[in-house]
């Protein structure tokens, strides 16, 4: 994701195993300055340079937004996933220099809420670590219900109970403790907002029950990562300037053109202003349109592309540039 967020150069300042599955990573800025302030629920995208490939994975910031000397994330080892968590667990050691994105919040608190009701499952606890810190500091009204497999896998359950006492309720799968969801949802005062983060099954269950019990959708918030993925490299021929260029995985088409000395107009570099609109002369393959500018019809026609955000996957692409 080359457009979008600014990057931060950080160094891993600590790596702390939390339990059998979860490890916590601490980052500080390499230049010793404070990190940007963030809001509870924000995540950063961590760039993992693993020999010749780069992975970009988002992780929720779990420290207090009031302390920006360091950022902390917790990573659960996933032995069958795309490999990002294994890289973190195996290769990331204190002192390693890494690049992370500025914080982005797609799971922010609705500060109008008269009460915040939080439901966490497993590693879904991390955004709530930051949100509860933020609310507690401001005297906010919240209640956290946290489901985990066993007490030893109840990541940070002890810390949370120590900090917030009876505002935190724990449910352990191995002890057959189940949250009485209908009852919980039916007893909340008007003006409550509901937040859920955890496995997809849990999110769906909570959203379904809330809807059935009359909770309006505006009051139900769930974390969904629009995980930015590095695009695959592709080749483009620029007919007007007579060049053939390769767009790298970490580059936008616009940036690749610029690197080749071709300067199309641009303003937003975010796919909305329309400035970089470029005509397609011929193509053999599939467009990956990520802009908000072209109409659906334009997208289907294959005659236009917005190089600041969109990509291509196929044999050949010739542009009028």
């Amino acid at each position: 994701m080359s457009t979008g967020t600014t990057k931060l150069d950080v160094v891993v300042s600590d790596v702390v195993p939390v339990n059998d599955l979860v490890t916590r990573f601490h980052f500080r800025r390499r230049d010793g300055e404070l990190l940007p302030t963030f809001s509870g629920g924000a995540h950063v995208v961590v760039e993992m340079r693993d020999s010749d490939r780069t992975r970009l994975n988002p992780y929720s910031l779990m420290g207090s937004p009031l302390d920006t000397r360091e950022y902390t994330i917790s990573v659960r080892r996933d032995d069958v996933g795309r490999g990002g968590s294994l890289f973190m667990h195996r290769q990331v050691k204190p002192g390693l220099e890494m690049v992370i994105s500025y914080p982005v919040n797609l799971f922010s608190l609705d500060l109008r809420a008269k009460k915040h009701l939080m439901l966490a499952g497993g590693i879904g606890i991390t955004p709530f670590m930051a949100q509860t810190s933020q609310l507690a500091a401001a005297g906010g009204n919240f209640e956290l219900h946290y489901t985990c497999r066993t007490a030893s896998l109840g990541t940070y359950a002890d810390v949370l109970q120590q900090r917030y006492g009876s505002r935190v309720k724990l449910y352990h799968d191995d002890r057959e403790e189940r949250i009485d969801l209908d009852r919980l949802l039916s007893s909340q005062p008007l003006g409550t907002h509901l937040y859920v983060c955890g496995p997809a099954g849990m999110i769906n269950w909570v959203r379904d029950r809330a809807a059935a019990l009359g909770w309006p959708s505006e009051t139900v918030h769930f974390e969904h990562f629009a995980a930015p993925q590095p695009g695959a490299p592709f080749d483009v021929t620029l007919a007007v300037s007579g060049k053939t260029i390769r767009v790298g995985e970490q580059q936008s088409l616009l940036e690749a053109m610029e690197a080749a000395g071709v300067d199309p107009p641009y303003l937003c570099r975010g796919g909305v202003c329309g400035q970089c609109e470029t005509n397609v002369i011929s193509s053999d393959g599939k467009f990956i349109h990520n802009d908000h500018w072209l109409s659906e019809e334009d997208h289907r026609s294959g005659c236009k592309i917005m190089p600041c955000v969109s990509r291509f996957d196929g044999k050949s692409l010739v542009l009028e540039r």
């Binding site: 039916s186 005062p189 003006g191 809807a211 019990l213 009359g214 309006p216 505006e218």
Partner: protein, 198 residues
Amino acid sequence: MAAKTIISRPIYGTLSPQPGRHHLFIADAEGALAITDMAGKAPSGFFDGAEIDFIPGPENRHLAALEALKPAQLHVAPSFASLLPRLKQTLTNAHMGLRLYLAGTEGLIGQAMQVALEAGMDHTSMQTEHRGSLARRMQCVHCKGITENVTTQPALCAHCGLLLLVRDHYSRRLAAFQGVCINAEDRSENPPMEEAFP
């Protein structure tokens, strides 16, 4: 009045039964008919968890039709002002899952919505249906006074006396349309007042 309307002008729908166990209806005059029309589509037992607050108005009709729905509670109020304390109390004690249905004149829908917004409900979660008079509540942007039941275009501000263009620009927070001086640039201009919102 411009035939084309603008986006801030509220759009009212048709009441439809929502999921949930508790339902609060607020209606005036012809608004009762929106409730009885909706009742046909409601699952059985729907009104067992419903309260209807009704302001019949001078013509005093439709009460029997509402009684026939057998809601858990039916409260009749002589005016919105007299309903207000009860409504606030109901909302203070309410739980998530309560659904709100507003039907009748724009003034009633707007004012009831204003109270519900303050209680922490989102306007998009409320069902509304317009029935009856098109008369508008108007805020004078100059003196901030609210004039009720405006039916003409332009209209006089009941507070400062300026002649106001009644715009389609609407504020949910104020439950009012905006009134702006129509002859500010040249006071000798006096456009005639015409019935516009019967």
